[in-house]
């Protein structure tokens, strides 16, 4: 019976496809607050015939939703609270979605369900900044173990650098992208792209894969580090590209290709920059540690094996040992 078919439980996939095709039908949740920004739909070519049938229902539904929707002003606390309206399992689900990008699945439609949150991007960026600084410092420690002439210091200023870099990347690049897509929308006069928050969300969650990668970069095997880096970059950039593809494919071929390649390039630059700035390459294993003064006869002059870092207690003690070995050597050098 047709009625029974309509009443039958629809699969999860169908529901998400329906939502992808008619994004105006925002999903409601336990809380009354809906997405505060009126987002516009992405025009999907194949969905036109489907959309025509539902149009009458759609207008009723949207009218009802707009009556219910009370958007608090941006000066109230409730406005910002609507961006943190996520549960633990939702955040975990979004993180999982960013780790495993699939070609058909649009992150914004399928995972975010047009309800972006700010919790994920903010805390993922904070975690990434601290993990970068900490693991970078750990590589310096490992390098010092192998070559004691390298001076270990906590390098706390790198935390500031990491924080500023990551936050600027995760907020300014989505701003530029959103602005660019809006401008192209203006040119094409079609229904537009994602809202600013959705773009920030996509970028924020796509940075999550770098957190375990950065920790794995502690392993001092160079080809393994490059492998992990390339893998993380591929996953992250794939997530971004699959999300941007439905918006960008209606544009000219050239603009689409340029946009996507710029996005991937910026992501790659971030990964490379982090690798080179924060991580200290391990010195080769055959560097001999500077010998102690007592173990050698005083007539042998000790050549320095590596540049001294003068202003440290370690450097001073080694220099003092150096002087102690030089002084007894002087009488033997006189003819």
């Amino acid at each position: 019976m047709a009625a029974a078919d309509e009443l039958a439980f629809h699969e999860f996939e169908e529901a998400t496809n329906l939502l992808a095709e008619t994004p105006e039908a925002a999903t409601t949740s336990r809380s009354e607050q809906l997405t505060p920004q009126g987002h516009v739909a992405v025009a999907v070519g194949s969905g036109d015939s489907y959309g025509a049938e539902d149009e009458v229902e759609e207008s009723d539904k949207t009218a009802l939703l707009q009556e219910e929707k009370q958007q608090p002003g941006f000066w109230t606390f409730g406005y910002y609270q609507s961006f943190f309206d996520v549960d633990t399992w939702q955040v975990l689900d979004r993180i999982r979605g960013s780790l495993l990008p699939r070609p058909g699945h649009n992150f914004v439609r399928h995972r975010l369900r047009n309800r972006p949150d700010l919790y994920g991007p903010f805390w993922i960026c904070a975690t990434l900044a601290f993990v970068l600084a900490i693991t970078g410092n750990l590589t310096l420690l490992l390098a010092q173990r192998r070559d004691p002439s390298i001076h270990y210091s906590p390098q706390f200023h790198k935390v500031t650098v990491a924080g500023v870099t990551i936050y600027c990347y995760a907020w300014l690049v989505p701003l530029a992208l959103w602005g660019f897509l809006r401008w192209r929308q203006g040119v094409r006069e079609r229904l537009g792209p994602y809202t600013f928050l959705e773009t920030v969300c996509v970028y924020g969650y796509s940075l999550f894969v770098f957190i375990p990668t950065v920790v794995l970069w502690l392993i001092p095997v160079p080809w393994l580090q490059w492998l992990f880096g390339v893998l993380a970059l591929a996953l992250s950039a794939a997530g971004l590209v699959f999300t941007l593809w439905p918006v960008v494919r209606e544009d000219t071929r050239l603009a689409a290709a340029v946009l996507l390649s710029v996005v991937v390039l910026l992501h790659a630059l971030l990964a490379l920059g982090c690798k080179f700035y924060f991580f200290q390459p391990l010195p080769p294993a055959h560097v001999a540690p500077p010998p102690r003064a007592t173990a050698l006869p005083p007539s042998i002059l000790l050549p320095p094996t590596s540049p001294w870092s003068v202003a440290t207690p370690d450097g001073q003690s080694l220099q003092a040992q150096h002087e102690r070995t030089l002084l007894p050597a002087l009488p033997t050098l006189r003819p």
Binding site: F77, Y80, Q81, F83, F84, V86, D87, T88, W89, V91, Y119, W123, A126, T127, F130, I134, N137, Y152, S153, P154, Q155, F156, H157, K158, T160, A311
Partner: protein, 194 residues
Amino acid sequence: MRSRIREFDSSTLNESVQNTIMRDLKAVGKKFMHVLYPRKSNTLLRDWDLWGPLILCVTLALMLQRGSVDSEKDGGPQFAEVFVIVWFGAVTITLNSKLLGGNISFFQSLCVLGYCILPLTVAMLVCRLVLLAEPGPINFMVRLFVVIVMFAWSIIASTAFLADSQPPNRKALAVYPVFLFYFVISWMILTFTP
């Protein structure tokens, strides 16, 4: 109750300075005891004060200063950096838990987070004493063990006070930033080299 409060108010104006200071110090000390032996009690939340966090933060920042006179660019955290991390970290975590829908007031949360730095301050003290001995792997293992134990103690203490104020399906979201905060402070303590 009201008359008692009125009597309390008028009598504190005439008391000696020593009484005032001792009363505040006793309140701070009582809260320290609550942090060191965390139970599910409301004392930290009910009469919050920010003296304890200030004392702890200043002590921690002073102890994290290196003795060397030369200004190395890549040294440990400066006094201002520690201060900023502790206070802005606490403010950010408080804002986060309020935005997630927690029903704890702003200053109560700051108070709890600040007081729960006490175990880490004790760890810093112990690390400084241990560093007076000769350096070596045993030295490092002792410091690592002390910092890990005190880090766990801080997390348990703050979670005991803060967890109940969050909606049940968002507890992990509210506790994770606290974990990150104390982890960063523990890292600063562990990497301290005089």
